[in-house]
């Protein structure tokens, strides 16, 4: 290795060697193995829940799930004390709040400026962002698994409490589509995160995207015949939320889901990923 001596402004060259003869940290030549993707994934998963906001989002899901399950037992007519109601009591708050965790996982690096550390410890931004996407999807799948499992427990206990026969009203196919819907919701949160990279902005964006746009679309569909005919070809939320109740997609429905997801999810996500690769972490 060539040594560049510091050029002094006057005279003699700098003596750049330490005087001690002991082995030094500077002379150490250990090669470290690269950071495996699994480790980045584990860290990103942990980071989703170790902040105050992450903790309270989880807590509020738990609290809402308990309240909603109790409400089903107390207020639902007997014929609706069934698996779907209990799974939904936990699944619906999750499907609304878990995407916020996906949003914050990305935006926090910019809004909270923790990216300065994250992207110096792992200079490859693509690996970090990929880990965040995988973690967001994983949380969506795990969340729904928990909702379905706890819902089953709630159904057994709840039907006993209400003194009605235990009803199982969901099929395996239905459960699959519920998980798919949840994954799409998580990807939507992730997409808004990479696109906006600002926590308040992306969360507002999420609620506009997930609630205001579908409401407007519904109003438009109920008043305008021409729109009702095309709604399913332009309204991603409509197709995504329909998945929670479906047991099978027709060819048309699958095409509508793919087209609207391409327009509302994939396209903005590509723009967002491009922006993330370029934006400066201040």
């Amino acid at each position: 290795m060539s040594t560049t001596t510091i050029t002094p402004t006057s005279g003699t060259p700098a003596s750049g060697t330490p005087t001690s003869g002991t082995p030094t940290a500077g002379a150490r030549r250990t090669t470290y193995p690269p950071i495996p993707f699994g480790r980045i994934l584990g860290v990103e998963l942990r980071k989703m829940f170790d902040t105050r906001s992450g903790f309270w989002l989880l807590m509020s899901i738990g609290i809402l799930a308990v309240l909603a399950s109790a409400a089903v037992v107390l207020f639902a007519p007997d014929e609706e004390i069934a698996y779907g109601s209990f799974a939904g009591a936990i699944g619906i708050p999750m499907s609304i709040l878990l995407p916020v965790i996906a949003v914050l996982s990305v935006t926090g690096e910019w809004s909270q400026r923790s990216g300065l550390t994250t992207f110096t410890l792992v200079p490859s931004r693509g690996r970090v962002i990929a880990a965040k996407a995988v973690a967001a999807v994983g949380v969506g799948v795990a969340g729904m698994a928990v909702a379905l499992a706890v819902g089953a427990l709630g159904n057994v206990v709840g039907s006993q409490l209400a003194g009605v026969p235990t009803q199982w009203d969901a099929t395996a196919a239905n459960l699959g589509f519920i998980v798919l819907a949840s994954v799409l919701g998580q990807l939507m949160g992730f997409m808004l995160g990479v696109l906006v990279r600002n926590s308040p902005g992306a969360i507002v964006g999420y609620f506009v995207y997930a609630f205001i746009v579908p409401t407007l679309s519904g109003v438009l569909a109920s008043t305008q015949d021409w729109y009702r005919d095309v709604q399913q070809w332009v309204d991603f939320q409509y197709n995504q939320t329909s998945l929670y109740d479906t047991v099978g997609l027709s060819g048309d429905e699958a095409a509508q889901l793919a087209v609207t997801a391409g327009l509302w999810l994939v396209l903005p996500m590509l723009v967002g990923l491009w922006l993330v690769s370029r934006s400066e972490v201040k």
């Binding site: 510091i6 002991t22 030094t24 500077g26 950071i35 105050r52 400026r113 300065l116 110096t120």
Partner: protein, 299 residues
């Protein structure tokens, strides 16, 4: 070992860095000095791969930072102590760093101990930290991977006098064990006390670099005599440079014993002969960066 090779950084028409080259050597503390906005932070961001330079490159331990397989194990970086998620606890931030680097969890406690953050403080969220505590946490994060290079941007900011002393001893010890330390600061006294080598940057250009001893020695010798004209002539014919600093005072760019000998040989009576000590880093800094200071003719 950090090598910076002709870095140039342009934002549109604005040149933030102009052909910046320097080295930071193992076993030495290199102070990186410059007025606000001179390009210190930009240079450091380029070093760690957060910003892409327009041209030129920076290497750490012979490789581009982004090519290091596990950078945290080789280079400890603290760019901005406040850039942390306010909702995480100090301990959690260290745990995340340790896990990313793959170092054992006990390093977290060792580092908390090293930077004197108590378990109670470590359990608090960073939102409630003072700047000094954030700096300590930042230093802990930088050191947790046991790196052999440290890149620290304004690490003494917000530390109390005892904290500054602690930081100085820590960095001195680290360099004495062969580590490379590059730290930027505008706290001149701090740099003057701790640095072995100095890099002075102004308006995106390196205006001076060398060992501290050399740079501060450029202040030269002050000599007082009634016969300034005669002495000045003799000094000039000896190939040295003399500046008039008053009616009977000369500042010579050389050592006192050289000037004394010239005076003896010339037969000029001296009233005073001494090293122009006082200048120090502040004078040098203001002089070197005079053209680039916001305040104009500060020197």
């Amino acid at each position: 070992m950090i090598l910076i090779d002709s870095l140039t950084m342009k934002y549109g028409g604005f040149t933030a860095l102009d052909d910046v080259s320097f080295a930071s050597e193992p076993g030495r503390v290199t102070g990186f000095l410059g007025p606000n906005g001179a390009g210190k932070s930009t240079t450091m961001r380029i070093m760690v791969g957060l910003t892409k330079p327009t041209s030129g490159h920076a290497t750490v331990a012979g490789r581009r930072y982004a090519d290091l397989p596990n950078p945290g194990r080789e280079v400890g970086v603290l760019l901005d102590a406040s850039a942390q998620h306010a909702g995480r606890t100090g301990r959690e931030i260290l745990t995340i760093a340790a896990r990313t680097m793959g170092v054992p969890g006990r390093r977290v406690d060792e580092m908390l101990d090293l930077v004197s953050l108590t378990p109670t403080e470590a359990g608090r969220r960073v939102r409630n930290y003072s700047l000094g505590m954030r700096q300590r946490l930042g230093i802990a994060t930088a050191l947790i991977g046991d790196p052999h290079v440290l890149i620290l941007d304004e690490p003494a900011n917000g530390l109390d006098p005892a904290g500054i002393r602690w930081m100085r001893d820590l960095l001195r010890g680290y360099a004495d064990q062969g580590g490379t330390v590059l730290l930027s600061s505008h706290l001149l006294h701090e740099i003057e006390v701790i640095a072995d080598d100095l890099i002075v940057i102004g308006n995106g250009r390196i205006v001076a670099q060398g060992t501290k001893a050399e740079l501060l020695a450029t202040a030269g010798t002050l000599v007082r005599t009634p016969d300034t004209a005669v002495l000045a002539q003799a000094i000039a014919s000896a190939g040295l440079v003399a500046h008039s600093s008053g009616p009977d005072l000369l500042r010579v760019e050389s050592d006192p014993h050289v000037v004394g000998r010239i005076a003896l040989e010339t037969g000029v009576p001296l009233v005073e002969l001494r090293a122009a000590e006082g200048a120090g880093l502040e004078e040098m800094f203001l002089e070197l960066t005079a053209e680039t200071q916001r305040e104009g003719a500060a020197a």
